[in-house]
Amino acid sequence: MADAHAAGQTILVVGGGISGLTTAIEAAETGYDVLLVEKAPHLGGRVAQHNKYFPKLCSPVCGLEINFQRIKGNPRIRYLTLAEVEEIRGSEGQYTVRIRKHPRFVTEACTGCGECAAACSVTVPDPFNFGMNQVKAIRNNHAMAFPSWYYMDPEYAKSDEAKKVAKSCPVGAIQPDMQASVIEEQVASIVWATGWKPYDAEKILPYGFGQYPNVTTNMRFERLASVYGPTAGKIVRPSDGKEAKNVAFIQCAGSRDHNYLPFCSRVCCLASMKQAAYVRDQYPDSKVTIFYIDLRAMDRYEAFLQKTRADANISWIKSKPARIEEDAQGNPVVIGENTLTGERYAMPFDLVVLATGMEPHSAVDAKVPANDATSDDYGFVTGGVLAAGCAAAPTDVASSVQSATAMAMKAIHAAVKKG
């Protein structure tokens, strides 16, 4: 029963993105103890990098803030950042997990005052903005980051300056010699919520990402459109900083393609419609072209498609472009066949955004470390542990939260069986 809480009834949630947060909070607010393990320095995951959500064009931080408040107010939730689950033994009801805690080099005593960052002279490409700008080697990812404690790059921690910077901390929270540690926990159930990473667009050779500066990706574009991103929200071309007023979006860049990701990533169509709105809102005289195979605005998201369709400055071309070339002015030229007219086109744009798909972390760098773990051909988790959100299938945020809430239910079943 929910009010009895024998030891070992804890629910382990792996991944602190929107799915993991949801599973953790919903289970805790139902009366269960939760251990939340996140690999990054802060909670929030992939959605924290998004500028806005479709279809409401609202900030993900709004919902994250509420969830963080719920975590702060709930003693049932323990969370670890910079931590990874290395090994899972046992089975549902009685798992033993080994967790490695990577050094943050900054303790929880940090007050977020920022003295250290001011004292730090070393900058690195900002991973939060996909390396599009430089940041200090000791920092937190953004002003709303939770937990708000700073963290230090391991490389920098080895430097002599790190030791000096440590002295600059008024509360002595910086420890450049901090070591990794390993802990073991007994848990009743495990929910894998490790989410997704953007598919590596450099692998999509015909589109020349990495070769042509003005070919970018949808996740980079999110940061480009964010006022807290590398360009303070100005939508410009990477090559020359020129305002990008003629922008193309190429759907299924890597998705629905046997050469890359054979499955459909589900959200990219809607994400591009959202990003089209970024462009149209910023430049009234802008033009947007969306190249697609099928427009996948499932169920009620259809309304968002119709809303986008109503904008005469957004044109739609049913076509998977064959390749991209670059003209003398550095404009990417998109080449292909319009399958509805049969015309062969070669259209230049200021900027081309590749709607790259979702690669599940569980397929690459967050495989479930259990002997009986199973996954499908694409690396989505199908068994051994419970899977929530994009660890189970490519889904939008609302569906991920539904999935995560459902997994809280399944996790509780295991805990109840144990109790």
Binding site: L205, P206, G208, Q211, R323, E325
Partner: protein
């Protein structure tokens, strides 16, 4: 001394259009220590254009016969081809025979008529694969005695050494092996966006006007990028680019006069081979920019 079974292909025959490739390849192999054991009494591979006249089985039977002879004469030693079309046709045939039992059965029924049989197991390789995989870049660079310093070369990979199989896992859209070869001889590989564009291939024979437009774009790009010469591994490309320059100049009013060479000719020359060894005397458009290295 490394030995390989060798399939020269029709264009490499004496007095054939790719005689300059054949001669320079032979010289290159001598300098590098490669023994090529030519298949006795080989026949045409039918290339890709063979589809229409031959269809599936007759087309593949041609390559199958070469494999059968090779197996009989030289066992399962790797079979080296120098012509892109031959390499592709042979590889495709072998792949189908090894993966499709119906094809294997039918092909062997046909081969039996010639008293032959073949059930796969011979690896077909392109000469450039042998250079890169069996000798390696250091070995190729080490042989250079006359670096082709200052020579600006457009590396034209073309289609069939690149797609669908590709050389040494190199990229389809932007392969770099040829540029690396050029650089290995001490020459400079100029940027060349058209490096994998199609020259019109076999259509040059039937619809030269269509193909010449493609060829022209390739020549133009090379010239625009400041190339002194174009280098290719493919005899069809070499022929189209070199022999049709005159026609292109008259019909599309250009004035190209750019030598089209084989990678093997660059190696031979940079490895100290003579003008003759490199078969540079066999260029329809004289390889003047290379004179100073002779």
């Amino acid at each position: 001394m490394k030995e390989y079974t060798f399939f020269p292909g029709c264009s490499s025959e004496h007095n054939a259009s790719a005689a300059n490739m054949e001669n320079s390849v032979q010289a290159m192999c001598r300098l590098l220590g490669i023994k090529l054991n030519e298949i006795d009494d080989w026949n045409c591979c039918s290339a890709s254009i063979g589809y229409a006249g031959g269809g599936q089985l007759p087309r593949m039977a041609l390559s199958a016969r070469n494999f059968a002879l090779a197996q009989k004469q030289k066992g399962n030693a790797d079979l080296v081809a120098t012509c892109a079309a031959c390499w592709l046709a042979m590889r495709e045939t072998n792949e189908r025979i090894e993966t499709d039992d119906d094809i294997k059965k039918n092909i062997n029924t046909a081969l039996a008529e010639a008293g032959l049989s073949y059930d796969g197991h011979i690896k077909t390789r392109h000469m450039v694969e042998v250079l890169i995989e069996d000798f390696g870049w250091d070995a190729l660079k080490a042989k250079v005695t006359k670096p082709l310093k200052g020579l600006k070369v457009a590396g034209y990979v073309g289609c069939q050494t690149n797609r669908p199989f590709g050389v040494c896992g190199d990229s389809y859209e932007n392969p770099t092996y040829l540029d690396q070869m050029i650089e290995a001889t001490g020459a400079t590989a100029v940027p060349f966006p058209m490096k994998v564009a199609c020259c019109g291939g076999a259509l040059m024979f039937s619809e030269p006007d269509k193909s010449c437009v493609l060829t022209k774009q390739i020549l133009q790009s090379a010239v625009d990028n400041g190339a002194d010469v174009i280098v290719t591994p493919c005899p069809v490309c070499q022929l189209n680019l070199e022999v049709y320059q005159g026609k292109i100049n008259t019909t599309l009013n250009t004035n190209f006069n750019i030598p089209i060479l084989y990678y093997s000719q660059l190696f031979v020359l940079s490895w100290g081979g003579s003008w003759q060894d490199a078969a540079l005397h066999q260029q329809v458009i004289p390889a003047e920019p290379l004179r100073r290295f002779a």
